[in-house]
């Protein structure tokens, strides 16, 4: 996908003087409404199923709602104040940022390496490319549950294996403590993000014409120089797409953490998404407030995204 916004009116393919060469004449009012029936159902659907919930969410965050679901009047900004005063709020936000940055960075670096390897010819490339799709084929939820079993303290494969190899003295409760649970969950998140990212980068690599490499080789550039000065700059569009899509997905990621630790113990392994979900059990208004904060953070991501796309357009 291109990161460019649509071209301004009249710029796309109908610049032939006054002749109405394009499908739509800009002069005729009816023709200008022509495409509306095509796009109206989609817009209505998005408005009803995606936008309306957003508005409802914002409304709920300013309401006082009982556990049973009864609206008890306006709560003003009480719910937001309550949320900001939660003792875990700061830690949750910090961990959300760490989670997103670590997972996206690791995913991009590993994908760069994988894409580079997959772009070369070697025996067994077919099989390794098949393996690339594997984490994508199994659902994220099932992958997370699988890892949870592997890491189980009493019956987990990992503990058994490490005990046998003498790496640890006694079996560990990997997911019971935040300091071991976080790295494992991050590893799972990277694992499931790799296929799509590697595919995007691989596609990017294949758009680079071979003669550029040829020229660089003739100029006597070493492999590392070639990579830094030719491959990386030309890979930039694909790289940006990968980063942005991953930022959104990792930030919004829920099933991995939920399946592996449910954000616990306490809120020690919760990102803001999980925190929001857990607050729903006790206070719907506060949970909605967290959702709004979440959404604002997503909007910041969108703005970064748009900024990135503008950088892209300048090229």
């Amino acid at each position: 996908m291109s990161l460019k916004a649509p071209p301004s009116p009249a710029s796309s393919g109908r610049g032939r003087g006054g002749r109405a060469a394009g499908p739509v004449s800009r002069r005729s009012g009816i023709a200008r409404l022509g495409p509306l029936p095509w796009i109206a159902p989609v817009i209505l659907l998005i408005l009803a199923v995606v936008v309306w919930p957003v508005i409802e969410l914002i409304r709920t965050s300013f309401l006082n709602i009982s556990i049973a679901g009864k609206v008890r009047g306006s709560a003003g900004t009480d719910k937001f104040e309550k949320l900001f005063e939660e003792s875990d709020f700061g830690a949750v936000l910090t961990w959300t940022v760490i989670w997103t940055v670590v997972v996206v960075t690791a995913t991009m670096l590993l994908s760069l390496a994988l894409a580079q390897l997959f772009n070369q010819k070697f025996p067994g490339r077919r099989i390794t490319r098949w393996a690339l799709i594997a984490p994508w084929a199994a659902s994220v939820l099932m992958t997370a549950i699988g890892f949870k079993w592997m890491l189980n303290q009493t019956a987990g494969v990992l503990n058994t294996l490490m005990l046998d190899l003498g790496l640890i003295d006694s079996s560990k409760d990997w997911l019971g403590k935040p300091e071991t649970a976080w790295p494992w969950m991050m590893a799972v998140a990277v694992f499931v993000s790799l296929p799509f990212t590697t595919y995007t980068l691989l596609a990017g690599l294949q758009t680079i014409p071979q003669d550029v490499y040829e020229a660089s080789r003739i100029d006597g550039a070493g492999p590392w120089q070639t990579y830094r000065h030719i491959t990386l700059p030309m890979l930039r569009p694909a790289f940006l797409v990968g980063v942005v899509i991953n930022l959104i997905n990792v930030f919004n990621s829920f099933p991995i953490i939920w399946a592996m630790t449910q954000g616990g113990p306490g809120y020690d392994t919760s990102t803001s998404m999980v925190f929001m979900y857990k607050l729903k059990e006790t206070d719907i208004g506060e949970s909605a407030a967290m959702s709004v904060v979440n959404f604002l953070m997503v909007v910041v991501l969108v703005l970064i995204f748009l900024k990135v796309s503008r950088w892209n357009e300048e090229d």
């Binding site: 916004a5 393919g13 022509g34 393996a131 699988g146 758009t207």
Partner: protein, 297 residues
Amino acid sequence: MTTTATTAPRPGTAADAPHEKGSGTTLNVFSHAFLVLWVVLAAGPLIWVALTAFRPSAEILSDPMGWPASFHWENFTNAWNKANIGQYTVNSLIILAGSLTGTMLLGSMAAYVIARFTFPGNRLVFMLFAGGMMFPVILALVPLFAVMENFGLLDTRAGLMIAYIAYSLPFTTFFLTSFFRTLPTGVQEAAMVDGASHTRTFFQIMLPMAKPGLVSIGIFNFLGQWNQYLLPLLLNNEDEKSYVLPQGLASLAVSQGYRGDWGALFAGLTIAMLPVLVVYAVFQRQVQAGLTAGALK
């Protein structure tokens, strides 16, 4: 897979040869080890699941890592019939038939209009899709439930399809918009000049031209919707008979603790993975071709 028609044309093999030789030496022992590690990590668990699906439950418990002594198909029949995986698979297929068709049709129509027509609000509509992409299902859970309840769509197949479509549309439209923009305008203009209707131009000229893009976003949506768990959990949780596959597998995963039918669970997981692998095998080439042409230009 070698380069496809959509990628930049490679120079002739003569010029190509030195480069290939060069990369051959780059692909040293270290890279090979890295690839082998990756294959083991990525495909290993799936192969293990598929192999374990052929072993009796007692055997799995006593030695989880063992090789099947003999191949037992009864896990599959148990999963299919007793654990209702058959019913769930059928449900998933029905939902997907509707939602995937709807997503692709509505998404490509919207993308075509945004990419090729100027109308007031064009930019705004595009932003609506770009914005919708950033809004995850999980944030909307409570209000979405209310919306569906208001329309009487809760616990109906139509409701689930509509929700799948709505949450797949932003990315689909976004992706396809840039894809349609890369297609040459000439053919479309010629068709319109010759008096073809919008509908005919779209279905007979634009859609066939956009096939690589449609295939890759189609597979992307297939994977997403086939494995979708949150939406059915929220909107389709009333009747166990109408569960889709991920719901059925999740409940099987929870209940195997006391029922002890691990074999059926692994068989169920294997059944759920099969369609994904088949679709991937059939369309593997196009996925990459589509990504190349659509994502990066």
